[in-house]
């Protein structure tokens, strides 16, 4: 049975991230980090999930996640990424980017490196700068890329005090999220529905490719790349639509899937099981999309009583897709165009701001100040 544990934590959670497990180890995820927003004092916190197997007589309170340590964070935590096992990068609404160190020996967090005013606005006619929120961060050791409301892209190295590369005015609108396509290429999404690919090998301030939603210019809020097929990219928009793109061809999404009723805040392919995708939204829902084609009787996978919906609005030039390396997300066979969607949270209330998946574990955080954890995604 699928168990979801909820814990109220007295702070609105903006980001949740699993700590990566060492490559090649059989360990499952046991620690995650959260960031808070809109509190008078915001925090970056590390949590440990207890052993869910040991249910005590009181009905399993042992399964709750416990706070390991936390540290004050100046401004809202806009994004959070594990740099490696011991280091966490946090993006702040004050425009700074901070690298926190976790000391497992005495369970404390400390500030390792900080780039203040990484993102800022320049006022017309004056030399003074106003800080601009940093909206997204992505790491690929040793590089850290940040984007912000100022439309700027920064490339940092963990050991460099100054930015290695800065693209000013990379975007005329707000950049909402960033991810690596293939190092040294990155993907950004912005508030006018565009997906831009930047290549750090190229000089100059122009993207190497622009893809966009046609017509409505619906802002895109999140982006994730397929872990194995690097040309397959998923984005989530303000209208709650999920778009699947093939960045090798066309400038339009391969398919648009009607999803949530409000802003989709995050989308994640499952890192090791990429036929599964997870999305969360301002409307308070958290969805599991299952596009695996080899599951004839999938309903048994999930807890009964939860609704499953079939919908797939495929648009576009699918004839162009190379048949040889079809991902299930780019599939053109109508018989296979079935994605099963399961809602993972029992009753929706306030916005689910963030989610992360690793192995069989999922964690998400909400504006209702609750953190939900499950360790049996595919039970």
């Amino acid at each position: 049975m699928e168990e979801i544990y909820a814990k109220f934590v007295s702070q609105k959670i903006s980001k949740t991230r699993w700590r990566p497990v060492p490559a090649g180890s059989l360990q499952t995820a046991d620690t995650f980090a959260t960031g808070s927003w809109d509190n008078e004092e915001n925090r970056v916190s590390l949590w440990s999930i207890g052993d869910f197997g040991n249910l005590d007589s009181d009905g399993g309170f042992e399964g709750d996640h416990q706070l390991l340590c936390d540290i004050k964070h100046h401004g809202d935590v806009m994004d959070l990424q594990f740099f490696d096992q011991e280091r966490i990068v946090a993006a702040s609404s004050t425009g700074s980017v901070t690298l926190f160190l976790h000391h497992p020996n005495n369970q404390t967090l400390s500030v390792g490196q900080q780039w203040t005013a990484a993102h800022y606005h320049t006022s017309p006619g004056s030399l003074s700068c106003r800080s601009a929120p940093c909206t997204g961060v992505v790491c690929s050791n040793p590089e850290i890329v940040t984007v912000g409301e100022d439309g700027r892209i920064n490339l940092f190295r963990a050991d460099h005090k100054e930015a290695v590369r800065t693209i000013d005015n990379a975007d005329s609108s707000t950049l909402h999220a960033v991810t690596f396509l293939r190092t040294p290429e990155i993907l950004t999404v912005n508030s006018i529905g565009q997906l831009k690919i930047w290549d750090f090998r190229q000089q100059g301030n122009e993207p190497s490719q622009i893809l966009s939603l046609t017509g409505d210019r619906v802002p895109l809020h999140c982006v994730d790349r397929h872990p194995n097929q690097q040309h397959v990219v998923a984005t989530g928009g303000q209208d709650g639509m999920l778009s699947i793109w093939d960045v090798r061809q066309g400038t339009m999404p391969v398919s648009l899937l009607k999803a949530h009723e409000a802003e989709m805040w995050e989308v994640h392919f499952h890192p090791s099981n990429p036929d599964h995708l997870f999305t969360c939204s301002e409307d308070g829902s958290l969805w599991h999309w299952d596009a695996s084609t080899d599951a004839p009787e999938k309903s048994s996978l999930f807890h009964e009583g939860r609704s499953s919906i079939f919908l797939f609005h495929s648009i576009s030039n699918q004839a162009n897709v190379h048949q040889s390396v079809i991902s299930s997300w780019l599939s053109t066979d109508p018989a296979k165009d079935r994605i099963e969607i399961t809602s993972l949270l029992p009753n929706r209330t306030l916005s689910v701001n963030s989610l992360d998946v690793l192995g069989p574990c999922l964690v998400c955080g909400t504006d209702a100040e609750a953190i939900y954890v499950t360790r049996q995604l595919f039970s």
């Binding site: 509190n39 806009m78 929120p133 909206t135 409301e149 508030s191 622009i210």
Partner: protein, 653 residues
Amino acid sequence: MNMLSAVQLIPGVNSSKKQMCFDWGPGEMLVCETSFNKKEKSETVPGCPVIYIIRKDVDVYSQILRKLFNESHGIFVGLQRIEEELTGKSRKAQLVRVSKNYRSVIRACMEEMHQVAIAAKDPACSRQFSSQVSILSAMELIWNLCEILFIEVAPAGPLLLHLLDWVRLHVCEVDNLLADVLGSENPRKHESFWKLVTILVLQGRLDEARQMLSKEADSSPTSAGMCRILGDLMRTMPVLSPGTTQTLTELELKWQHWHEECERHLQDGTFASSPHLESLCKIMLGDEAALLEQKELLNNWYHFLVTRLLYSHPTVKPIDLHFYAQSSLDLFLGGESSPEPLDNILMAAFEFDIHQVIKECSIALSNWWFVAHLTDLLDHCKLLQSHNLYFGSNMREFLLLEYASGLFAHHSLWQLGVDYFDYCPELGRVSLELHIERIPLSTEQKALKVLRICEQRQMTEQVRSICKILAMKAVRNNRLGSALSWSIRAKDAAFATLVSDRFLRDYCERGCFSDLDLIDNLGPAMMLSDRLTFLGKYREFHRLYGEKRFVDAASLLLSLMTSQIAPRSFWMTLLTDALPLLEQKQVIFSAEQTYELMRCLEDLTSGRPVHGEPDAQRLQDDDIETTKVEMLRLALARNLARAIIKEGSLEGS
């Protein structure tokens, strides 16, 4: 609500020395010292540079209570969605379940607060948490009683069972004592043995009491007989078991027999040799004097009430409750002390006076959470229809509005308040409109969340205002692209015009466009304002020109002027842009188009106002302008000539 006129002193403020001024906010009050002095003018003393923010609802700021607010918010929203069609039993069962959910949240909160109180190192801090624990405990006590009386509406018989559960839940020291005694080496010799047995009997936990007695019987042969008799009495006491079809009359009859048997034993002096057993027997007979002897173990009058009912009126009717409650309170206090607020609240509940309960709670408790949620639940039980306040709307809505306003005053709990306002049909909407505009928009993400709230509720005025704020911010930060996006989202034509003008001005200054990614992708949004359309089209002209599609570019340029989309101030720039097209080798503008261009130029030059006192700068400007006009005239004339020849020769051929 009747407010008690208690004077609250604001720490740090001395109003006898300085004159104060204040201003009311939605949930807070601002107080600061004025520079006026009461008696003499002493300019030397500088004013205190402090503004005090005085908050009404302090509990909102407690970290632990935040969990209560958040968790109960979910229950509240669920309750509002309960199908109205649900009637009768299923509806009642639903409402009872909701009530229990609320209580379990209170309990969870209380337990955590208790843990924190124990762990606190600072005694003052610990005291504060402990007092919170007792407030939460009182809240749960009241809520539970209201649940039994108003929501469950238990009839005679089950009513007493519910009340017993209520007392057992709230007088829970006995469980610790039980574990303590049973854990000791020889429970019978434990100093609290008899105390424990008495408490068990007082709470009607007769099975456990019997087991304790059997321990006594095992170890002391002299009292074994007595213990067995009393144990039998305990075992045979008739109780209502929920599953059976037993009628109340049958129960009353059996109970009467049992009662008489107890009485006979007492009169026969069966337990005369053991004062402990005798007193237990007296309790089981409902003897008031014997009960009052156990005042300390009973803790409070409502425990006394329930024990008394258990052993003398087990089938008490709801309607008679208040009579027994009042007499129990009087007997228990015995005129030594006066009832406290909690006693009054419980008494009002026993009298089935809901409004009095809510009124007393509003006065006694330090937050609106309790009364707002309880009143809302009771309203769903359709118990409050008749009551309308002479101000605002009904009581439920009044309390919900107060609570939600408190949430909105909080830095981050405002999101919860939205749903409460939603379920206030009369004044919720206006309150939300007033509050939502005051949310500081620190990041775009937060603004998007606020916007979503407004858009879902069709609050167009607020949507416009938020977008405008963001557009203004973007302009101030020199982010014209963002500013334009926001004004398009707000459908704010005036602001779109303003931003477009800024784009055009920048173009005139720099000779190139910024933010092409946005302007090239305006799409239908271009139609929002004439100036924006012009901006988009003008940029299109540049693109066509860049792609060497001169004919298309030329006709677009001309149409911008003839259709009056281009602002007059920009015509000269457009005409200048036409110059290179006029100078191309092949003829691009037809004769007719050239006439149009000439007309535009003449319109522009003839309409020029005559300047008053020309200064040096203006003279120079005028000079450049005159040269431009002359160059244009020349180019136009030459183009016209070429066009006429070309068109003439085309027709001729």
